[in-house]
Symmetry: C2
Subunit: 345 residues, 2 copies
């Protein structure tokens, strides 16, 4: 019953060499004679030795773990990002420490504080809000301490950080154009929170498309949402009860899309027959159910991978550049027909 962990001294003793030699063998850091190597390896096997990474981190003052902060683990978009990050981190031999903020600024600050104690090598984060001063301070503090930060999807008021985002505006622009081309004149949008880059950019794409088609913006067609189903449902209900309701709606994210669909159900409206709908972010469930919804799609998994890539890059470079790099991934228009002019109109 050896509840004890063997340490480097025991291996050295067992192998009849010094701890320095053991260390060299374990890290292949310098050449060691074949004879010594074998003796060490035998001892390692015999005592079932595994080096203690905590001690190693302390000694080298270099951690092997990165932190990732997501606002909502359950949203498929973020779990895909998480998947991308963990896959890429694994390839680099890095561990991923997971933190969740539940879209709550208070929790975000708390999380960021505890993260400071744990010597993380770097941080990947989708901040709750883009204008939270305290969050920004904390993130800057990390960089000051030599811990690089990479933003994903959402940004903060500081061009300094590296970031990976999608070309939201462009995607939405094309999506709305496709609706307008289909003959729609009254196109509405349920936006995301306008204090965040994604929310703002998607709205801008919508506005630009309307302008290009010479269609004046109507304030009552621009409903602000919060990327959550409930709110989106309410806004959609109100949209549909306008004197002159829209014939098409653009929904700004996956949860918003569910909200729109829920509202349609309550009103007895069928997409493609009574109204048109275009969503942002593809939804596996709908796809599998063969629900013909056109969407602006992006590769969340790849976004996660890229974020890890940028971070790993920072590790290699000395110092930090004044202005962060910005990886902007393309979006893809997936047309499944729901953008077309509804049959019954």
């Amino acid at each position: 019953m050896s509840k004890q962990e063997a340490n480097i001294y025991e291996i050295a003793k067992e192998a009849g060499v010094s701890i320095a030699t053991v260390s060299r063998v374990m890290n292949r850091s310098a050449s060691v004679s074949e004879k010594s190597t074998k003796k060490v390896m035998d001892a390692v096997r015999k005592l079932n030795y595994v080096p203690n990474s905590t001690a190693r981190s302390l000694s080298t003052s270099l951690s092997r773990s990165i932190g990732i902060v997501v606002p909502d683990i359950n949203n498929p978009f973020f779990s895909k990002i998480l998947q991308g990050v963990t896959a890429a981190a694994d390839e680099q031999g890095l561990q991923v420490v997971l933190y969740s903020t539940d879209e709550d600024t208070e929790r975000e600050l708390k999380v960021l504080h505890t993260m400071r104690e744990h010597r993380l090598r770097g941080i990947i984060i989708t901040p709750v809000s883009e204008h939270c001063k305290e969050t920004l301070d904390l993130l800057q503090d990390f960089e000051l301490r030599g811990i690089p930060v990479v933003l994903v999807d959402r940004e903060v008021d500081d061009p300094h950080f590296d970031r990976v985002v999608a070309q939201d505006e462009d995607g939405v622009y094309q999506a709305v154009c496709s609706m307008l081309q289909a003959g729609h004149k009254r196109v509405a949008i349920v936006t995301g929170p306008l204090h965040s880059r994604p929310g703002k950019e998607r709205l801008r794409g919508y506005e630009r498309a309307l302008e290009d088609f010479g269609i004046p913006l109507r304030q009552e067609y621009i409903r602000q949402g919060d990327f959550r189903m409930e709110r989106a449902c309410e806004e959609t209900l109100e949209l549909c009860s306008l004197e002159e309701p829209p014939t098409a709606i653009f929904s700004s994210n996956n949860m918003t899309t569910y909200g729109c669909l829920k509202a349609f159900l309550e009103l007895g409206l069928t997409v493609g027959r009574d109204i048109s709908l275009f969503g942002f972010d593809d939804i596996d469930a709908l796809k599998w159910l063969n629900y013909k919804l056109s969407v602006v799609s992006r590769d969340a998994y790849e976004m996660g991978r890229r974020a890890m890539g940028l971070l790993a890059d920072c590790f290699d470079r000395e110092g930090f550049s004044e202005v962060g790099r910005r990886e902007s991934l393309p979006t893809e228009l997936i047309l499944r027909g729901s953008e077309q002019w509804p049959e019954s109109l």
Copy 2:
């Protein structure tokens, strides 16, 4: 540009006390005079000091992080568990290190190996397979080293570990009974992998229900799936093309349910009109879309919390008991009508 981290010595010097006093103040581990406390706190603020948890871990040989190993981050069931675990861990001041196996035994072994280097305080895992000897060895090795392991949902061939599971058999039994009560005589099941507890138990629930209703089992109605959509779709297609096709199907998990629905779509069958369906695990997307599917539901979030609870419990106790505890959470029958005798039959 203080890219340097302040350490306990600098604080001690700045405050004019010894490092022991600083340590005591930071940990409230012993009483320190008000005067000293204030001096230390001032120094801490001035130098923006944050204790180094790596050094602390090494010194106390007590880690503040636990590892969680999931087979598929993207499956909502596991992301809910993850949510429960992180929430509970957070309350205990513990960090969560995330590992993903992608349902691959090779990756699981690799992950488990790297986990040994990182001094985790405990481990929560849903193993890929229940009979993998190497995985079992590794898990036992953790326990031997004083690192407790808690199993979630799936088990391994060793009663020693603590575990949290759902009462799958019972839930499925009741579900199938409700279909039989509705008048169905030909009820099929698309199972999960039968080398895992969930797969086996759910099949047993199905069998027991049929027996209790005096309906002989028909092998052609028991189709083995793998908890994935594609396979479930194929099996369902075959089921429906039998000479005497079933009038009702029980699907053994959320992905399987998608597979069944996909098959129905291809065949032009509508649930509730042409065939009955009962699923295991509720699906948010379907619920939001007001899709009337009856399901056996369980609280994955709570399962995650319980797992963390059991683990925390192990930390407090000395030594390990011979036989692990087993928390068995109830399932809930959510009847939405899809279990009823189809209209058109």
